[in-house]
């Protein structure tokens, strides 16, 4: 039996991987590395897993992934590079645009300095913790302006971290297209945008493959070295898609048999 190490935080362990773990344990030996109780020693090189699967994005998780990548040849999904880029909205926008994947215009500005576009959404820069999007609508002179509460707290709150805001040009879209990439397989869904209906699963529906989105998805995965992901796209009135978000710890439970698809894919990628 293959040995699979799961590097995970408590939140994902408690709420997101029950079926996945049950299935994976029936086909592989599984060892858990839980962020909240993990003691990382830089000298540790004793890993005998055939593959690591990462389900979290905290600082200890990232450091453990880096250590495994530096000290062993064991495949890690998703890699250090993939996770670092996926959690950093500014950096992933920069590199995705460089790869000619359409992303909305974006700007990183000191507090008080407006971005060079009128309709925007303010998002936090590094999406590292467990958090539910909490939008604040700020309609101004007919322009759509939205801010995620977390982004404002990180700049203005009691324990503010920095003085910069990440602005993304707001793309008005009837639907939000939710695309999952697992290896070379791409799965297509759409739902009403969270600003229209905060219960994102209520309107979610499976849709036929959209070849343009499939191409963007696979290209984004290649550029960011990301093997398992979900991507959000908005579509303008004239039919142009924009990638608004990329996630390295997608909830694959939304896909029919998602837990099995992911587990089977992981075993295919394990060391021989």
């Amino acid at each position: 039996m293959k040995k699979v190490g799961i590097i995970i935080d408590k939140y994902h362990l408690n709420y997101k991987v029950t079926d996945f773990l049950k299935y994976l344990k029936s086909i592989a030996e599984v060892k858990l590395y839980v962020e909240e109780s993990y003691f990382l020693k830089s000298s540790n090189q004793n890993f005998d897993e055939d593959l690591f699967f990462v389900k979290g994005k905290g600082e200890i998780i990232l450091s453990l992934v880096k250590l495994i990548e530096e000290h062993t040849s064991i495949p890690v999904i998703n890699s250090f590079k993939a996770t670092c880029l996926a959690i950093n909205r500014f950096l992933n926008s920069t590199y995705l645009r460089k790869a000619e994947i359409p992303v909305p215009d974006f700007s990183l500005n000191p507090k008080g300095e407006p971005p060079p576009f009128k309709d925007f959404i303010i998002k936090n820069i590094v999406d590292q913790g467990v958090y539910k999007f909490s939008p604040i609508l700020m309609e101004e002179n007919g322009n759509t302006r939205v801010a995620d509460k977390r982004a404002l707290d990180e700049v203005n709150g009691k324990e503010h971290q920095y003085n910069f805001l990440y602005y993304q040009k707001f793309i008005k879209s009837k639907w939000e297209y939710k695309i999952y990439g697992i290896g070379e397989n791409v799965f297509f869904y759409k739902q009403l945008p969270v600003l229209i209906n905060p219960n994102k699963t209520e309107s979610r529906q499976k849709i036929d493959e959209i070849s343009e989105l499939k191409e963007y998805c696979l290209k984004a995965m290649e550029v960011m070295d990301i093997k398992i992901t979900s991507l959000d796209f908005h579509k303008t009135q004239d039919g142009q898609f924009f990638l608004t978000d990329i996630n390295c710890t997608p909830n694959f439970n939304y896909i029919k048999d998602g837990h099995k698809i992911v587990a089977d894919y992981l075993l295919e990628q394990a060391k021989n």
Partner: protein
Amino acid sequence: MNIGILSKRTTNLAGKIKQFYENKGFNVTIYTLENLSINENLFCNDFYILKSKKLFFLYAGFFLKANKIPVVPDPQVSFMQKNRIQSHFLLEKADLLVPKFYLGKSETLINQLGSKDFPLILKPIMGSGSKGVKVIKSVQELKAEDNEILYLEDFIKGLHYNVYFIGNRVCTLIKPPLSNEHVDMEEVKTPKDIEDLIKKWRLFLAENNLFGHLDIVREESSKDLYIVDPGSFPEFTNWMCSSSPVEEICNLILHRVKKLKNNQNN
């Protein structure tokens, strides 16, 4: 030619660099955290000098580099020297000795570390220099730390050096332990093993390592040299090996930019 300098301050070394280039007829703008907006407006300059490793300057560096505007020093190499975890593995890869580190939630560290593991040095994960660095002598002292995640390093007892390099010139100084770059230091003749170490480090990063510094500790009993802090762009406050490091640094940067632009054109 238009030059942008990404710097915390407009004074000190950044100010001197600006002055040097202006005297040569260049247009120079210093971007501090007050006037830096990271978007296409930055494309007005021909190249950038990444003086500070603060996160937002690094972001600007990544953004500019991705858009084919030369940035010196390289943002990725500077970032790896700013993040303790990354710099540990980078130095290890360069075949240099680094202290072991431990990382975890404070509660986990308190449970896992024994009395024989102390003293340790507590450092911020993102940081360089002596800011936020302190010696932890026992588990009891860890209990007083309210940080969620703590990064601790083995404490290397020995003689502390601050070693600058600009091109192939090395300037070695003895410094008080855990002090910053700006305290009074004693210049010494560079020992052969330090000279070799700097050479190895420079060669490892090749053209991405034009100048910089390493904080090194010579371990008391083994005499081994441990790197405890690398730096990609120090202030060179204590540089005592030529009249002014500014001209040498500025010329190295211009030479590097020329090469980067040539590479882009070919």
